[in-house]
Subunit: 232 residues, 2 copies
């Protein structure tokens, strides 16, 4: 993370509103397919319609909303095909990040990552799921940072946010969890060995497993938070 020399993170109203809406969408308060009434939302957020509409445009560009002319904005409802597509792109991006990281990684970075891997295995052994997710995210962030590619990071974050709007809790069963931890270890070893192709394959495969888990969860209609299909 840079962000050290930013003047001051003085947020403008449309940005703040967008942030707020993003959170509402991700936490499920605004579920997929929900119609967003401008007047109602502007009252609820305490801003007027003008900045709110700019927020809508931002979220629509991120793929979290769809805007229909003269018919307002809706929270996007991803179809299984969309999810598959998004994961495919995420895989390609992570793979690229891995290759770039290999080219730029220093010994100190590898030591850091090994330390994180150790923490992850501790969390895993202790069945500390939240801790695991936290470390997991740290490791992936670290890899993306090593890639040192702003466009990549930006694209990755946008896609990630879109998928998070699904609120998938792909129930991590013990076998899959074990496998994921093992895969992480292999990743770090591939990075240490500067084997870009191997790292790429590992990252792509890792993500493909997650994709399958999410798609399986979508099949289960009992999980009402995951609604796919087309919007009526």
């Amino acid at each position: 993370m840079d962000g050290s020399a930013l003047p001051i993170a003085r947020s403008t109203l449309p940005e703040a509103a967008a942030e707020r809406l993003r959170a509402l969408i991700i936490e499920g308060e605004l579920p997929p397919g929900a119609k967003l009434n401008e007047r109602e939302l502007s009252e609820r957020l305490g801003v007027s319609r003008t900045p709110l509409r700019e927020a809508f445009r931002m979220l629509a560009a991120d793929g979290l909303l769809v805007q229909l002319p003269n018919r307002g904005a809706q929270v996007v409802a991803l179809s299984p095909a969309d999810v598959r597509g998004a994961f495919e792109v995420m895989g390609a991006l992570e793979g690229l990040a891995g290759e770039l990281a290999v080219a730029r990684v220093a010994e100190a970075d590898i030591a850091d990552l090994r330390a994180l891997q150790g923490e992850m295995e501790v969390a895993h052994a202790g069945r500390d799921l939240p801790g695991y997710y936290r470390i997991n995210r740290l490791i992936h962030d670290r890899l993306n940072a090593l890639a040192d590619n702003a466009v990549l990071g930006q694209t990755y974050r946008t896609l990630n946010a879109r998928l998070h709007a699904l609120r998938f809790r792909s129930n991590l069963n013990p076998a899959k969890w074990d496998q994921a931890v093992a895969e992480h270890r292999a990743m770090i070893e591939a990075l240490a060995a500067r084997d870009g192709a191997a790292l790429r394959d590992l990252l792509v495969g890792h993500l493909r497993a997650k994709q399958q888990a999410v798609l399986d969860a979508m099949e289960n209609k009992d999980d009402k938070n995951l609604q796919g299909g087309k919007v009526p």
Copy 2:
């Protein structure tokens, strides 16, 4: 220049304004780093500031503008690092498109592509550069369509627009042109052979060559249309 101030009469005003601005940026009427005065632009486009601001948000999300709080919008000025990053991501995306295309391609598609390849070689033999570019674009579009991944297509188009804003005329010298045509032929053969890995490598390499050409062009300060570095 052609301030054909015809009040835009299309779908929604913000979208139309964004389209118009996008064109102005790509054709260089609004050069990199240019400050966009809301009032002046709104008069020039014949729209009021409100829809114009929504257009700004859209273009900023596409990476064509940067918006500074209370200091308005500027046309983005890509640094060489940004260009490198964007091309790296484009390469990953094209590579993915190739792999997906291999998985989904039908014989009829291959025949179509071979026909296009033939046209391209005719254009090449006749030193018809515009024709070459047209066919080139058709082939790449066809590959992306074969990938059948909306997220991929969307991401690809956005990045492509951002790079086009550079208005790079990477002067295609005869040797590079020959090579590019040969690479295209190899791509189609890899696709016909359903060799995804080979196709991916070809696409990535192909794009890497273009990246190098653009970066070289950026070095040449005499081409005033390509300005990199930070904005003062």
